[in-house]
Amino acid sequence: MIINSRFFNRSELMGFIALAAVLFVILPLTLDVFRLNLVAKYLTYAFVALGLVLCWGYGGILSLGQGVFFGLGGYCMAMFLKLEASSVENTKIQSTPGIPDFMDWNQITALPLFWQPFHSLTFTILAIILVPGLFALIIGTAMFKRRVGGTYFAIITQAVAAILTILIVGQQGYTGGINGMTDLRTLKGWDIRPDHAKIILYFVEVVLLFACIGIAQFIRLTKLGRILVAMREQEDRVRFSGYSVANFKIFAFCMAAVFAAIGGAMFALNVGFMSPSFVGIVPSIEMVIYTAVGGRMSIFGAIWGAILVNFAKTSLSESFPQLWLFGLGALFIAVVLAFPNGLSGLWADYVQPRIDRLFASRKSKSDWNGNSVADGAPAE
């Protein structure tokens, strides 16, 4: 309890409990499987938003290329699933059985070398973490060691997102092109398509999300997190104090990349396909939008941002397809102009003080009655 109350302060603990209650209990009980699967899709973006809180909110590094890492993670997972779905029995009608269908359509007759290791699930899981992590390490080292930052970094990451998309679309035979990798079926023989599998995958994803929240919160509370904030506010002073600013930035960027990649892998599992439309410039900026709307400084805020913006996107584009882009654009301008701290900022300014007052008044009343409740104890 002591560790817990240090790990989360009271309002964070409330945020944690509220999120856990909604994701673990309320949504699974109230939504049908189709809607729950949609929530699972939204939550994959919550991983990216979480990474952006660390890297952008705390570290001050705006990356417009998170789609790249989301895509790399997703494609690693999709390659494994696709290979399993393209077993020799399943692909008998192809001219070369045993390779993914899009390769067969593009007159490729043997599995390319870089596809080979993806027969192994262990390798795939390692690749989901390491490929985006190393890629981020290379970009980060090249950029931050030369003290490139701010807008330049944003533009270059955006260019990387553009490059990767064009590459994936162009190399149709190796990547599935613009259609991406579709028709993913089983994970180690376990069918991922039926309803009960979707529910299990949803819970796996939520557990993973909470694990990532834990890691992010841990980073935030350690000295590392404080240095990140210090760097965002006064980079030069941190450098003159003897810290290697570049290394901390690289770390935050890599961390965000790994979170995004986990989200991407869960996307491939939950949605059942992966395509370049989740990699490029537009999705990358949308991911930043989720974070900004939710609150770039708040771990829980960003997750709510990812869920709510996507929810609004689905429901608005279902009923008023014309209005959706107007709404998203206006929302975004409003958030940037009026509420730079997003929903969590609004919460902290308007809702939290009321709750605090409520608690304070009840506490003073109970103190006066003589049967005080120890602060935080009911959270057990």
């Binding site: 705006l62 417009l64 090249a142 950029m143 030369r146 003290r147 490139v148 701010g150 807008t151 330049y152 944003a154 533009i155 270059i156 955006q158 260019a159 990387v160 553009a162 490059i163 064009i166 590459l167 679309v169 162009g170 410039i281 537009v282 900026i285 930043v288 939008i289 900004a292 014309q322 959706w324 882009l325 107007f326 998203l328 654009g329 206006a330 929302l331 975004f332 301008i333 958030v335 940037v336 102009l337 730079p340």
Partner: protein, 308 residues
């Protein structure tokens, strides 16, 4: 990859592809000029720049339709009027945006990126609602069609020559305005030190608004030129925005000369490579080279020495 062609063929290929690249170069330069003014001089990342360009393209399209319907006799000259109208429309919208949005964000450059992205989404939807989702093409007047035969194997399209001359003219006038005129001196003063510029009596708000308007107006002219090489749709502008930003960054943000040099090298590399491999790989290689060079030389090709 060069082995299959004779030396003379290669020469012609390079000239033809080089010329095709020059039209791309013109659009890049016009787009990047506006962006270099806005980004390089003001530090604002205008993600809606492509939409300002498309506004110019739509204005050109409407003008051409108007001339076809009401003044068919003057159709040959519609393009000049269309360009001016495109400049005014985009410039006016730019000034409106600066007043409503950008001026609140000068101290938060990264946030301008996010806000103008929101703006670009709204503009795209507005174009879709007003002009429809289908791409529209502009009919060129007779004298712009066809091509000049330089030699047997080399042909040069006339509209390409026209666009290039136009680009040259606009670039020179922008350079003149920025470096020779009184107003250009004020712009540069505001860029270097906003507070001091204000202290010596320059109306910095007015300068900002006009600068932003000028940048957007040039994007509108780029849109006019764009109608000659591509069809105009609500999202066409988005395709160019990353390339243009790379052009500006690659050239060194505050340098007009650098912008031109980088637009030239990027468009020529891409266009020449396109002949030897698929368009997508040419683009990937070009962009990779640019990103690679930027990692080695983050300040761009021509960097001004600035004291930070």
């Amino acid at each position: 990859m060069f082995g299959d062609y004779s030396l003379g063929d290669l020469g012609s290929i390079f000239v033809m592809q080089g010329f095709a690249g020059l039209i791309l170069f013109s659009v890049y330069v016009l787009m990047a000029l506006g962006l270099a003014i806005i980004f390089g001089q003001m530090g604002v990342i205008n993600m809606a720049h492509g939409e300002f360009m498309i506004l110019g393209a739509y204005v050109t399209w409407m003008t051409s339709n108007l001339f076809q319907a009401y003044l068919p006799s003057l159709f040959a000259g519609y393009f000049f009027l269309a360009m001016i109208l495109a400049f005014l429309a985009s410039g006016a919208l730019g000034m409106l945006v600066e007043w409503a949005l950008i001026r609140h964000l000068y101290k938060r450059p990264l946030d301008t990126l996010l806000a103008t992205w929101g703006l670009s989404l709204m503009l795209q939807q507005a174009y879709r609602s007003v002009f429809g989702a289908r791409e529209v093409g502009v009919e060129l007047p007779q004298w712009m069609l066809g091509s000049l035969h330089v030699t047997d194997s080399i042909e040069v399209p006339i509209n390409g020559v026209f666009v290039m001359c136009l680009t040259l003219l606009i670039t020179i006038s922008v350079a003149y305005v920025l470096y020779m005129s009184r107003w250009g001196r004020q712009v540069r003063a505001v860029v270097q030190n906003r507070i001091m510029a204000g202290a010596v009596g320059i109306n910095t708000e007015k300068v900002d608004r006009l600068t932003f308007g000028l940048g957007c107006g040039i994007a509108g002219v780029a849109g006019s030129a764009f109608t000659m090489i591509g069809s105009t749709g609500p999202t066409s502008g988005q395709l160019y925005i990353v390339d243009t930003f790379l052009v500006v960054v690659f050239g060194g943000a505050a340098s007009l000369l650098g912008t031109i040099a980088s637009a030239f090298s990027i468009s020529q590399t891409q266009s020449t490579l396109e002949f030897f491999m698929s368009g997508s790989m040419a683009k990937v290689l070009t962009l990779l080279a640019v990103v690679g060079i930027l990692m080695l030389r983050p300040q761009g090709l021509f960097a001004l020495k600035v004291r930070k």
